[in-house]
């Protein structure tokens, strides 16, 4: 399907040598190396629909980058099937390259010694983009990313924010259907981060591009992604909406309600536990895996009791993900 990403049973195994401790161990490893198979990604299955932005999350070493490398045609999987815009990336590398754009926050695809604009022109030739089309797209990107203020500067002299904005433009100038972003805003200041996020939102909502994003920045996830795939130790832990993630791992909200009548009997509600009571002050919290979201809980509490005031303490997504990683790590 045009612009879709399909991953079915993807596994990638790397064979490495185990280093034994100490000098004697190192010498033993030299003579008699112990080879082990490291499962970077194990049996992962997920799809991304055309025009959808999916956040692929997980702690360091979870297998995110390996997954992206397979999807971009850099690596061949050990087993499983992958299609990006209908193309098997590692079988038709150059065809896949025409359908995708990619930005790795810590690397650049621009020519280091040339001004960014020269790199754009070279990429136009490589991707055989008609001149008028290229000029129109560059103008659009300039309006969104303010490229013209620095695009005549050599890439080696650009700041990180300028360099990544140039890289974003370079990745999208050939109008790819699918875009891979591996920590695109890492190390950026908040203003540039917001500019980049606005640009990405525009590319998804206005241009209909499919985006697969990896990041450790939970604000970015909240602002951009509706759906999240969480992997850990190479295995898929969860595939769902942000709400689902919060429901499953974000069990740290509390609703503090002040009852109009201090003598009212307060009891637990379905999925909502009564944590403590101090006169008219009652504190509710989630109860079990089927606990409602904080908004639903608040609605249920207000409907059940007459209250004169409420306060909400909700875990932010950072806390939720920390909890998710910890639980996923314990389960692995």
């Amino acid at each position: 399907m045009s612009g879709s990403i399909e991953v079915h049973g993807l596994s990638r195994v790397f064979h490495t040598t185990v280093r034994r401790p100490g000098v004697a161990g190192a010498l033993r490893s030299l003579v008699n190396p112990e080879r082990v198979a490291k499962h970077a990604v194990s049996d992962i299955t997920f799809d991304v629909a055309p025009g959808e932005l999916l956040a692929l999350l997980g702690p360091n070493g979870a297998g995110k980058s390996t997954t992206i490398k397979v999807l971009t045609g850099i690596l061949t999987p050990t087993s499983g099937e992958v299609r990006v815009a209908g193309v098997v990336p590692y079988q038709e590398r150059e065809r896949n390259a025409r359908n995708i754009g990619a930005v790795f926050g810590q690397r650049t695809q621009l020519w280091w010694d040339l001004p960014a604009r020269e790199s754009f022109a070279i990429l136009r030739d490589i991707y055989e983009v008609p001149k008028a089309e290229h000029a129109a797209r560059l103008k659009e990107f300039d309006e969104l990313l303010d490229l013209s203020s620095f695009w005549d500067t050599r890439v080696r002299h650009l700041s990180l924010g300028q360099r990544v904005r140039s890289d974003l433009a370079a990745a999208l100038l050939h109008d790819p259907q699918v875009v891979f972003l591996d920590e695109p805003t890492i190390g950026m200041d908040v203003v540039v981060k917001e500019q980049v996020r606005e640009f990405l939102r525009h590319q998804v909502e206005q241009r209909g591009r499919t985006v697969l994003l990896t990041t450790h920045d939970m604000t970015e996830v909240e602002r951009l992604a509706e759906r999240v795939v969480l992997i850990n130790h190479g295995r898929l832990v969860l595939d769902g909406s942000l709400d689902e993630i919060r429901r499953r791992f974000g069990s740290t909200w509390q609703v503090r309600a002040t009852l109009a009548d201090a003598h009212t009997d307060a009891v637990a509600l379905p999925g909502i536990a009564l944590l403590r009571r101090d006169g008219p002050q009652v504190v509710f919290g989630p109860d079990g895996p089927e606990a409602p979201t904080v908004n639903s809980a608040l609605k249920a509490i207000i409907e059940r009791y007459e209250v004169t005031g409420v306060a909400i303490d909700e875990a932010d997504l950072e806390d939720v993900m920390r909890n998710a990683y910890a639980q996923a790590g314990a389960a692995a």
């Binding site: 850099i74 990619a102 010694d113 030739d125 490589i126 055989e128």
Partner: protein, 266 residues
């Protein structure tokens, strides 16, 4: 056609970029020339102190370093970026090349302009002019054509050796250090008749690490020593073809290696 246009455009831009750092540019040209100082000293001593070497007279011997240097200069200029590819691997640039609709090998060659090749080629051209002007051979069209083929074959053979090492580096980036050893070996043993060396060493440098085919064997054929090399004459005369075949083989190895590339940092 588009490939040629891109190659020309990127080369032009890379060259212009190098020119903008004037001191760096001149230093790079100079280092290219100075790097060949051992060859220049060898040629000077050969002409000033000796009448010949291993049954070859001085002017004949001079044709060996001249051919090797010219082949080397052209290799550095046209195909030399496979040399020390480990850095591009470590920086993740191979990953980026794999995501573009263009052969990775071509992108490696277009990654920067090798300014030092200008120094190499200046020394090589001077040496070749000197060798030809001292030569008493009849430089017929056939001989000149063979010399040109020998230089191209030598360039391709050197490219084949470094491409094979680059393939090893794709798998084990540390293999890059072998490039230094190979460069040193080519510089040390590539400039004089190999028949002055012990037979085992000569055999190694002919059949195991075929640097004899870069300049020694073609020069032997050109100067009439083709039957005295210990190598069948037909094989010595086929040196340019050996270069072509070795290069084609190395490119097949490159394609295979890229398919098995595992990248860096997982």
């Amino acid at each position: 056609m588009n490939a040629l246009r891109i190659t020309w455009r990127v080369t032009r831009l890379n060259f212009r970029a190098q020119l903008e750092y004037r001191a760096e540019f001149l230093l790079n040209v100079a280092i290219g020339a100075i790097w060949q100082v051992s060859v220049i000293v060898f040629a000077t001593v050969l002409l000033a102190r000796f009448t010949g070497m291993g049954g070859w007279d001085s002017s004949e011997v001079l044709l060996i370093p001249a051919t090797r240097m010219l082949a080397h200069g052209l290799f550095v200029l046209l195909l030399g970026r496979v040399h020390f590819i480990g850095r591009q691997i470590q920086e993740g640039r191979i990953d980026i090349y794999l995501m573009r609709p263009m052969p990775v090998h071509r992108q490696v060659q277009l990654s920067y302009f090798p300014t030092n090749a200008l120094g190499d080629l200046t020394v090589a051209a001077g040496l070749m002019v000197g060798a030809l002007s001292r030569s008493e051979l009849d430089w017929s069209a056939g001989r000149i054509s063979y010399l040109v083929a020998a230089v191209v074959g030598g360039m391709l053979l050197e490219a084949a050796l470094f491409t094979a090492l680059a393939c090893a580096s794709l798998r084990f980036p540390a293999a890059d250090y072998w490039s230094r050893w190979l460069e040193e070996l080519l510089g040390t043993f590539g400039s004089y008749p190999l028949n002055v060396l012990p037979r085992a060493v000569g055999g190694f440098l002919t059949y195991a690490l075929p640097l004899a085919f870069v300049a020694y064997l073609p020069a032997a054929v050109l100067t009439g020593h083709g039957h005295d090399t210990g190598v069948p004459y037909w094989l010595a005369a086929s040196a340019p073809l050996v270069g072509v075949l070795a290069y084609l083989g190395s490119r097949l190895l490159w394609r295979w290696s890229l398919r098995h590339y595992t990248g860096v940092n997982g």
